[in-house]
């Protein structure tokens, strides 16, 4: 069995005394695995990813990165985040920096890596996602799809142990969705460990090793994509999947 990269035990989170947005989530992901989380809007998918990346503080429960408890001490939060990459739904490149500076900033500043080496890697990755000629462009000169590809490169530059993707195509025009998802599919093939939240069911089916169905802050189903998409076990999952079909 491959090594467990990221793991949660009894992860619980609620906002302002309300109902639990996440209710005792037990989750784990292995080296090289791609887990896709689906579920209705507001079920806690984003909150879950944000907890994994310590952007939200869980009320209780444990988060372990390669077996090490990471959500207890506040002081080293940035050290752990460095190892967990995340790309958000909204384009969030740094608008005052061009593409190459966007992707090189953290490796230079946080990891204090060698400048030439970082730049070389950046250009290599930009080339892979088809954006080499945009290296000197500013975010405002890019399309949504291009921005998201840069955001993926920026996260990859840190050599994260796991990559969290939160509906990275949800804000894109339909014709740009594919170019971004293509990049993610290639990463999956190369063995990148990823937790992906998406509403693109075709893509989920193609990329996932395992699908998690989250509803009202609880994991209702967890299985192989073929099984989940062809014969979901719970009524709620059936209902959810039906919302993607048009008669």
């Amino acid at each position: 069995m491959k090594q467990v990269i990221l793991e949660t035990a009894g992860l619980t989170k609620s906002f302002d005394k309300g109902n639990a947005v996440l209710n005792k989530i037990d989750f784990s992901i292995h080296q090289g695995e791609v887990v896709v989380i689906v579920g209705p809007s507001g079920c806690g998918k984003s909150t879950f990813l944000r907890c994994l990346n310590l952007l939200e503080e869980a009320d209780s429960g444990e988060i372990l990165l390669e077996g090490k408890l990471i959500n207890q001490e506040k002081k080293n939060v940035h050290k752990y985040r460095e190892q967990i990459g995340m790309v958000f739904q909204s384009y969030e490149l740094f608008p005052h920096k061009n593409v190459i500076d966007n992707v090189c900033l953290a490796p230079l500043l946080v990891q204090k890596r060698n400048k030439d080496e970082v730049k070389e890697e950046a250009l290599k990755l930009l080339k892979r996602v088809g954006l080499l000629e945009k290296a000197e462009s500013y975010p405002r000169q890019l399309s949504g799809g291009q921005k998201q590809r840069v955001a993926i490169v920026r996260a990859l530059m840190m050599h994260p142990k796991v990559l969290l993707l939160d509906e990275i195509t949800a804000a894109l025009d339909p014709e740009m969705v594919r170019e971004v998802l293509q990049v993610v599919l290639e990463l999956a093939k190369e063995g990148m460990t990823m937790v992906i939240v998406t509403h693109e069911m075709e893509f989920a089916r193609a990329v996932a090793d395992r699908v998690i169905f989250l509803d009202r802050g609880e994991i209702l189903e967890e299985e192989k994509p073929e099984e989940f998409f062809t014969c979901p076990r719970t009524e709620r999952a059936k209902k959810f999947l039906n919302t993607f079909h048009y008669e």
Partner: protein, 225 residues
């Protein structure tokens, strides 16, 4: 021609004296502005904290400064300090203190509103790259804040340059004071001196402030993100 009175500007070293007076004003404004920028950034950052008491105190400071005429503040510091605390401060010193006190409040408010206009995602993408709070502030938030601050910051600078003319009232010899001295000296031989001198001062202020605001417009366009 004799009666035009314009020659008052060129008699002796009159014009140099006016320029020197202008430098005094500019110096006061620039020094105060430099302090205001540094302290204003700190204040602006403090004003965005969650703690309500801290925010309230900042608010009170800001409103007080805004309500009080700068002249009153000047008198308060210059005469008040001397009288009650026995500290003998120069007019220049008092001016820098007052303009910094005022500029910091204004700058702080500008920084605050620029800071809160930056989307939360900018912070979060920095954090998720493993950057510390300080690194995010310095490398991501402040550079974007500066761009947003530029127009209003320059506006504050020009206001400060203009407001320095008040220091004449606490005995600092700056451009208006020099002008007055020249006018007084030539009262009899040149009764129209006042018009020319104040006209020249008007022009000098314009010559300083106009390029500054043009520059900011150009920079703003250039830096537009």
């Amino acid at each position: 021609m004799q009666d035009m009175g314009i020659q008052v500007l060129f008699e002796g070293i009159n014009f140099q004296r006016l320029l020197a007076g202008l430098m005094v004003s500019l110096n006061l404004a620039l020094i105060s502005m430099a302090f205001s920028i540094v302290l204003g950034i700190v204040l602006g950052m403090i004003m965005t904290v969650k703690n309500r008491l801290v925010r309230l105190i900042c608010r009170i400071y800001l409103e007080t400064v805004r309500i009080m005429p700068q002249l009153v503040l000047l008198f308060l510091v210059y005469f008040g300090a001397a009288k009650h605390f026995g500290v003998d401060i120069s007019g220049e010193m008092a001016a820098v203190i007052v303009f910094t006190f005022w500029g910091t409040a204004e700058m702080g408010d500008l920084v605050r509103s620029a800071l809160i206009s930056i989307p939360k995602h900018q912070y979060e993408s920095g954090y998720s790259l493993g950057m510390t709070k300080l690194q995010v502030y310095i490398r991501i938030i402040l550079p974007q804040t500066f761009r947003r601050l530029l127009p209003s910051g320059v506006n504050l600078l020009t206001r400060m340059i203009k407001t320095t003319s008040l220091v004449v009232l606490i005995g600092v010899v700056e451009v208006v004071k020099v002008g007055k001295q020249i006018i007084d000296a030539s009262r009899y031989e040149n009764p129209k001196a006042a018009l020319w001198i104040y006209g020249a001062i008007f022009f000098l202020y314009f010559a300083i402030c106009f390029p500054i605001s043009r520059l900011s417009a150009v920079l703003e366009r250039r830096l537009k993100t």
